[in-house]
């Protein structure tokens, strides 16, 4: 047995040091040197104070802001310390009820808007932290935001146009808008 134990134990310790200590420290050093902002969480600041991360979605419920996608994290939505999806199956009645509830809330906030609601705005994201909504979901909310903020809807749509991201090379990425970014831009509009 000793013929097995010595190489097994010694190699275990040495390779653990290489892959479990040296390697992550090397990546941390390289990452912090080359891409410090990304390695530290892509924080977004307003007036010099961090207000979130451009990668982590926040919950918005005021009518003057674009709302993020529904989040299934608990106890509060968009809980950064406990990511999670709803895991509701496609035939689960709780799924249909939840979607209907979100449709009702969106329609109540903007009763005159009769458009069909883009699906991503009424379904829970995988992470519960999705920072994006689809361009369609942003356009759907434009009328509510324009009337709440008393600004022309064209101005809101122009802002969507400026903020939106589309597929690169025709297949990399989906049409989307970063919710935190566009809400910060909304607040920055001078009247």
């Amino acid at each position: 047995m000793k013929t097995y134990l010595r190489p097994a134990l010694v190699l275990f310790v040495l390779l653990t040091f290489i892959t479990g200590v040296a390697y992550p420290l090397l990546i941390t050093g390289l990452g912090q040197a080359l891409f410090p902002a990304q390695a530290s969480g892509s924080l977004v600041e307003r007036d010099g104070k961090p207000v979130g991360s451009s990668l982590i979605g926040q919950a918005f419920s005021a009518p003057k802001y674009f709302w993020s996608r529904p989040s299934a994290t608990s106890p509060m939505p968009n809980n950064g310390s406990s990511s999670g999806g709803s895991n509701l199956g496609p035939t689960n009645t709780a799924l249909v009820d939840a979607v209907q509830g979100r449709i009702d809330a969106l329609q109540k906030a903007d009763p005159d808007n009769k458009q069909l609601i883009p699906i991503d705005l009424v379904t829970a994201s995988a992470s519960g932290l999705d920072p994006h909504i689809s361009i369609a979901a942003a356009q759907y909310q434009a009328s509510r935001i324009a009337s709440t903020r008393k600004i022309p809807v064209e101005k809101v749509n122009a802002l969507i146009e400026q903020t939106q991201e589309v597929a690169v090379l025709g297949f990399l990425g989906e049409p989307r808008v970063n919710v935190l970014a566009i809400n910060l831009a909304l607040d920055a509009i001078k009247l």
């Binding site: 010694v10 990546i27 990304q38 406990s82 990511s83 496609p90 699906i119 689809s134 990399l172």
Partner: protein
């Protein structure tokens, strides 16, 4: 399938096959005992300290014991670190020690290359546990798989040989020459995209808007209060801040994808924006999952000095993979008919991805989420960028079937190819029966001993999956974990056992599996799903290596042509899938019919 999804899929496949070839050649070089560049710095000092004589070959049984001893040490170490993490450094969030059953499950899970996660990373594991215990096993389990595969390939090449290579050398070389350099490059790329890599405590930021939410009221005894009906009393709470999790994530995610491990740094795995921030990181991670498994087919062709043999296996894998990917993308694009009946728009357009978006992220959309589901289950990776539990019934059935095929369509690094070689031996055996000749593969006769070992290797996972599912459904503790009602709840259990026994690690995550019952049951399934296959595979290698290599004659069945590829696909589908048809009929098939049934009813109601 939309034009975009075709473009995505074709670019993905073309890039994969193009890069797999040179990498496969490189890995074959690592398997060769000839000295490698820089070996006096990278290899030899390690062997000297460990007392390894690099030139000394091992018999199959010595090799098998070495594999087991090394992996057992790993299992004990990972268990110990988790149990003691509260006393160890690099724990800024003061995570408590992991419970015994969960630590057992996670330890087996990472040692067996399954990386099933009963826990949520950002709420359970200290940075030290993540990097020193879990990430390290990502390397070791991947290197073990590749090493075992080297042995089986060497057995085909050997002529009446007694030894099959040295496990310590294979392990070290694969780790230092293949996995480590690739991971370093990939990890730095991931940081550039926004994957976090630091040792800071979690960051608290003041959000733009306060969030008002309901939470269970805690009574004076410290327990959630219950009302007269036994339901939790809720109270209103307000959050003005958001906690951003941190940690050395990029280093772990790089090897998690390259080594087909799949264990996430955070709870939702590659759906988490800090693990997979951009469409580009998503595409690169998708690519990384299948790169080494695809490359190993070329390694095989190179080592047996007949490229066509490797290409034949790769062709069979690719054919099944293409069919599965197109099917899943199609089903997810269709969306959910029950939700289509509401006031929503599920149609794909230039302004939205559409389709079944429950449990998916906008930046990935339906296409790359569906493709990922197939890639991650074709390989035994098991990382997810969308919640499989919320897939459409047939969209979710395909990933389940990919695992049940035995993880041989690309499969885990090393394990996928040795699994496929087992099926190739089975195929020549069946073909031999049909034409009445002794079956042979690459000049080696396949005889009674090999067939017995092949049967064990093929039957052990269906046994674990089906008996395990039956046990879970017959016990109170097993049924208690089910989240969704009806046929879907059955699918959750079947998926969990399929994932564990085939060392995949993805989940229908609604299942509450972090319980003593599931931690134990799935832990056992993972262990035997790994090592009850590795040992027969090594035994076959031992037996084959001792045989003479027969010359090719007019009567030899070629194992590189289209006929063999079709036979191989047939064997994988018939032997691999047929076992599961009854179980699949009770889960996804029933659920699909229920969904279709609803649409018909509601359409009538509307008339």
């Amino acid at each position: 399938m939309t034009p975009t999804s075709w473009l995505l899929f074709i670019v993905y496949l073309a890039l994969l096959l193009a890069l797999a070839y040179p990498l496969g050649r490189l890995i074959a070089r690592v398997a060769d005992p000839k000295p490698l560049p820089l070996s006096s710095v990278l290899e030899k000092p390690l062997y000297r300290l460990a007392g390894v004589k690099a030139g000394e070959g091992m018999s199959w049984s010595t090799y098998a014991i070495s594999v087991l001893v090394f992996n057992l040490i790993g299992a004990v170490f990972v268990y110990g670190i988790q149990r003691l993490q509260n006393l160890l450094p690099l724990n800024p969030q003061n995570m408590a020690a992991v419970t015994a059953d969960s630590a057992f499950n996670t330890s087996v899970s990472f040692v067996t290359n399954t990386n099933w996660q009963g826990y949520g990373g950002e709420a359970t594991m200290s940075y030290l546990t993540q990097m020193l215990a879990l990430a390290v096993q990502n390397y070791f389990s991947a290197a073990t798989g590749i090493a075992v595969m080297f042995v089986l390939i060497r057995a085909f090449v050997a002529r009446s040989a007694k030894t099959l290579g040295n496990f310590w050398v294979d392990l070290t070389r694969v780790t230092v020459y293949v996995l480590l350099p690739m991971s370093i490059v990939f990890a730095v790329f991931l940081v550039s995209q926004g994957v976090v890599q630091n040792f800071s405590a979690y960051k608290e930021v003041s959000t733009i808007e306060k969030v008002v939410y309901q939470q269970p009221k805690i009574g004076p005894d410290g327990q959630p209060m219950k009302d007269a009906k036994g339901e939790s009393v809720m109270e209103e709470a307000t959050a003005a801040t958001q906690t951003l999790p941190m940690g050395p994530a990029a280093s772990q995610i790089a090897i998690k994808q390259l080594g087909t491990n799949g264990g996430g740094f955070f709870n939702v795995n590659s759906a988490h924006p800090y693990e997979n921030p951009t469409p580009l990181s998503n595409f690169a991670e998708l690519f990384a999952i299948l790169l080494i498994p695809a490359a190993l087919c070329f390694t095989f062709g190179d080592m047996v000095r007949d490229k066509r043999q490797g290409i034949a296996l790769l062709a069979a894998m690719t054919a099944i993979f293409v069919a599965a990917s197109l099917a899943t993308m199609h089903f997810e694009q269709q969306g959910n008919p029950r939700i289509a009946a509401l006031h929503v728009d599920q149609v794909t357009s230039s302004a939205q991805t559409g389709g079944n978006m429950e449990g998916k992220e906008v930046r990935f959309g339906v296409d790359t989420s569906a493709l990922w589901a197939v890639v991650t289950t074709a390989a035994s990776n098991g990382s997810v960028n969308a919640m499989h539990d919320s897939f459409t019934p047939l969209g979710g059935a395909v990933p389940m079937l990919m695992m049940q095929l035995g993880e041989v369509v690309f499969g885990g690094v090393g394990s996928g190819l040795y699994g496929m070689l087992i099926f190739a031996l089975m195929t020549v055996f069946i073909a031999g029966l049909m034409i009445g000749r002794t079956p042979e593969y690459l000049g080696k006769k396949i005889e009674s001993f090999e067939i017995k070992m092949i049967s064990i290797a093929i039957l052990v996972t269906p046994l674990l999956v089906l008996v395990g599912t039956a046990i879970a459904l017959m016990t109170e503790a097993g049924r208690a974990g089910i989240a969704n009602p009806g046929a879907h709840g059955f699918s959750e259990v079947l998926y969990a056992l399929s994932s564990a026994a085939n060392n995949n690690g993805s989940a229908f995550a609604g299942l509450s599996a972090n319980t003593p019952f599931y931690n134990t049951l799935l832990g056992i399934a993972m262990w035997f799903g790994r090592f009850a296959i590795i040992i027969p595979v090594l035994a076959i290698a031992g037996s084959l290596s001792a045989k003479k290599r027969l010359e090719v004659t007019a009567g030899t069945m070629p194992t590189h042509g289209p006929l063999f590829i079709v036979l191989l696909i047939g064997t994988v589908l018939i032997v691999g899938a047929l076992t599961y048809i009854p179980a699949l009929a009770l889960g996804p098939v029933v659920e699909h019919l229920q969904l279709v049934g609803t649409t018909v009813t509601s359409a009538k109601a509307g008339q």
